[in-house]
Amino acid sequence: MRALATALFSILLAASTRGASPQSPPATAVPLQQPDVASGKRIFESHCALCHGLDGGGGRGPSLRRPKLNHAADDEALKSLIENGIPPEMPEAWFLSNEEIASVAAFVRSLGNVPPEILPGDPARGKTIYARSGCSACHILNGDGSSFGPDLTDIGARRGSRRLRETLQNPAKTVPEDFLLLEATIASGQAIRGIRLNEDTFSIQFRDQQGRFYSFRKSELRGLKKLRGETPMPSFGAALSPVELDDLVHFLATQRGKP
């Protein structure tokens, strides 16, 4: 019964203002509604999850769990993209009403943007801790630092405080999906460690901590180990006091990227 009610609700929503399809009866009596994340989620699961995954994590289509979307700079662009698709791969949602599109857009935005939290700790002290702990030896933050590890400029929009804390205490447990440490043993027997930049069936490209690029045919390597679950990042669980950890987490959580 509840399913039926949901289905009827969707049909009613679909029959609202735009009437783009000859199958949609003209309906002007339905009042305009504010974007609703919950109904956006339902529509997403019915029409978008097929390619983008139930939780927006990606599948045939890309992951939408990111603060900045490649094809939609702002909310208006996102709504337009949902309505018109990206030919030829992403179909148009011509059959959705403006309100439904706005709701789907609101849901998509909610996927990649961690809402600001009320946190313990002092972000100003956290900034000092960030500087003295050597983080910039591996990370770029607002344009400064070294690029061996992930860019932290918008880390607060991408990661919640729990995840940030976990990464600082036990970085090996939260290695990002696209960040792979590897060890290549070349013909001389020398082992080189680096972060994978690209890979296909026959070749692999990576960069070491000094920023040197390497590219090898896999057949010329004596060994290639993918060090899944390993990271060059040290744990700061013991190096920092609980208060310092709060400060640093708070500082990182405020790094939400440039407008």
């Binding site: 399913a3 949901t6 289905a7 969707s10 049909i11 679909a14 399809s21 000859p22 199958q23 699961e45 019915s46 029409h47 999850a49 097929l50 390619c51 995954g53 139930l54 939780d55 994590g57 990606g58 599948g59 045939r60 030919p87 030829p88 791969e89 179909p91 148009e92 011509w94 059959f95 999906e177 792979l180 890979e199 296909d200 069936t201 026959f202 070749s203 057949s219 993918k226 899944r228």
Partner: protein
């Protein structure tokens, strides 16, 4: 007299450039590629021997041709030095020596056309007599003059406004052109059509979802058959002796929510064998009864003869999207052998008649259930290859699972009708392979691992080679007997097409479309 003879020969060339006999006897002219799979038996095997395991390392690009469209999936037709290629609602003839086009043809895509569940693409053409046959996204089968690309006739096959489309290469048989339809994610009712090659008149239609009163209708309930899917979007095969057309049928609709369509849902996820003269069903074999994982059986069937139990049998084989390899008798549809060729967690096995015995908890659920393979299957639309020299079937295999979930989806004509979906595993947990299977048993002979699940088909050649492509742009050659890599080339774009081989100026070439570029290689 000699002049007259020449004149007569040239007349016959003009008026019946590719009579059906030439396609039937494709092995007599290995320099041409006259039908989607080169032969009617779906082998995608070239008898050419200039490029071998010894010299393939010297293979080089001869020319490349850029298309306006991304992710070209075309498998060219090659006739006497000319390549005939297609894109979405377009076709062209290209000089095989220079790579320069000789004519192009385009049909506008209507502004209100929507591809539902796939991109704008086209996988190739068919040729018969003096015509090239192209199926369009907006539902027309168009016959073009081979020499000029001028339209000779067009037939309206379907109504795109309710979700139908066409992307496959038609199959030319005796006097007829057979086509199938896309739209399995849009709640269509699938069919296979045959048109008179001379004038475009409909010769017969076979509905893949039987209507009231027809055999198989009892496997549906209520009105579910009306939106039952059963698309037929990949080119079939033909046995000119048995005069049977073999065609794969796609998933039922809605894809992931089977609650609204109890029953086996015939003839979805089946092979059907149709009488070429009438389109009447001779036999069917259903691989995935009541499918809820989007495992279309839309594959190119491979027809070959082999000895089973000391008896020579006429066989049809397929590596199915559901991760099982099947061998059937192609005269009767009798199940002879079947076994998994890729990781699968949805079935304990097959019963003596080839029907799967499902595992508990493999159905999509509200929260999602992890099942191998994923919805794209252990292989998809791209072609396998049967190599008569090794007796192996080569399959581009996808080793990837997904969390399948189920949702309500009300049917609305011309919109997506999925009833759920899937969350794929992260990229590094998935991989691909070219697998060599013993054709009559499915036993694994070798596998060559790929970095990721592939989207490209396989070509085998009498030079002892297997060619295929990767999603990272590698086009490569393997030793057909061992799977050892012998050559590779980075094309610069994902490969989602089938390779072909042919002669240009007396020398063997290999062609593959990679993203929006067609490459032709030679020694």
């Amino acid at each position: 007299m000699r002049l007259l003879a020449l004149f007569l020969i040239s007349c016959s060339a003009v008026f019946a450039q590719v009579p059906f006999e030439r396609i039937v006897n494709a092995d007599k002219e290995p320099g041409n590629w006259l039908t989607y799979s080169r032969d009617l038996q779906g082998h995608r095997y070239s008898p050419l021997t200039e490029i071998t395991t010894q010299n393939v390392a010297r293979l080089k690009v001869k020319w490349a041709l850029q298309f306006p469209d991304q992710r070209m999936e075309v498998s060219p037709i090659v006739l006497d030095g000319i390549l005939y290629i297609t894109g979405p609602n377009s076709a062209a003839a290209v000089d095989g020596s220079s790579g320069r086009s000789l004519w192009t043809w385009k049909r506008p895509i209507p502004p209100d056309y929507h591809s539902i569940g796939f991109g704008h693409t086209n996988r190739g053409a068919a040729v018969l007599d003096d015509k090239l046959f192209v199926a369009t996204l907006d539902g027309y089968l168009v016959a073009l003059d081979l020499k000029s690309g001028i339209e000779r006739w067009s037939a309206k096959v379907l109504d795109y406004k309710v979700g139908y489309s066409m992307t496959m290469a038609p199959l030319a048989i005796e006097g007829k052109v057979v086509v199938g339809v896309s739209g399995g994610e849009a709640g269509i009712r699938g069919f296979i059509d045959a048109y008179d090659a001379k004038n475009g008149q409909l010769a017969w239609r076979f509905w893949t979802i039987p209507g009231p009163g027809e055999s198989g209708h009892e496997t549906w309930s209520g009105d579910a058959w009306k939106t039952g899917g059963g698309a037929t979007w990949v080119t079939g095969a033909y046995d000119p002796e048995l005069k049977l057309v073999y065609w794969g049928v796609g998933n039922p609709g809605p894809d992931w929510n089977g609650d609204v369509r109890p029953g086996d849902n015939l003839y979805t996820c089946s092979f059907v064998a149709l009488d070429a003269a009438t389109g009447k069903l001779r036999w069917y074999f259903q691989f995935s009864p009541h499918d809820t994982h989007d495992w279309d059986a839309t594959h190119v069937p491979m027809l070959f003869d082999a000895s089973i139990g000391g008896k020579n049998r006429k066989l049809i084989a397929v590596a199915n999207r559901n991760a099982f390899y099947y061998v059937l008798d192609r005269a009767t549809g009798e199940f002879l052998a079947g076994k998994p060729y890729a990781k699968q967690t949805w079935a304990i096995g097959l019963d003596p008649k080839g029907r799967p015995i499902p595992t508990p908890d493999s159905e999509p659920s509200k929260e999602g259930r992890l099942v191998w393979p994923n919805a794209n299957g252990a292989t998809v639309w791209f072609s396998p290859s049967y190599d008569p020299q090794t007796g192996f079937v080569y399959v581009a295999t996808r080793e990837i699972g997904a969390r399948y979930f189920k949702r309500e989806t009300p049917y609305r004509p011309g919109t997506i009708f999925p009833g759920g979906g899937e969350d794929e595993l992260p990229p590094d947990d998935a991989w691909g392979a070219i697998k060599a299977l013993q054709a009559e048993t499915g036993d694994l002979r070798w596998e060559f691992k790929l970095h990721s699940p592939p989207w490209a088909g396989v070509l085998s050649t009498a030079g002892g080679l297997v060619f295929s492509g990767s999603d990272e742009g590698n086009f490569y050659a393997l030793d057909a007997r061992t799977g050892k890599p012998l050559w590779d080339f980075q094309t610069g774009g994902p490969i989602g097409a089938n390779p072909v081989s042919f002669l240009i100026d007396g020398h063997q070439c290999i062609a593959i479309a990679a993203d929006h570029v067609l490459y032709v290689f030679g020694l």
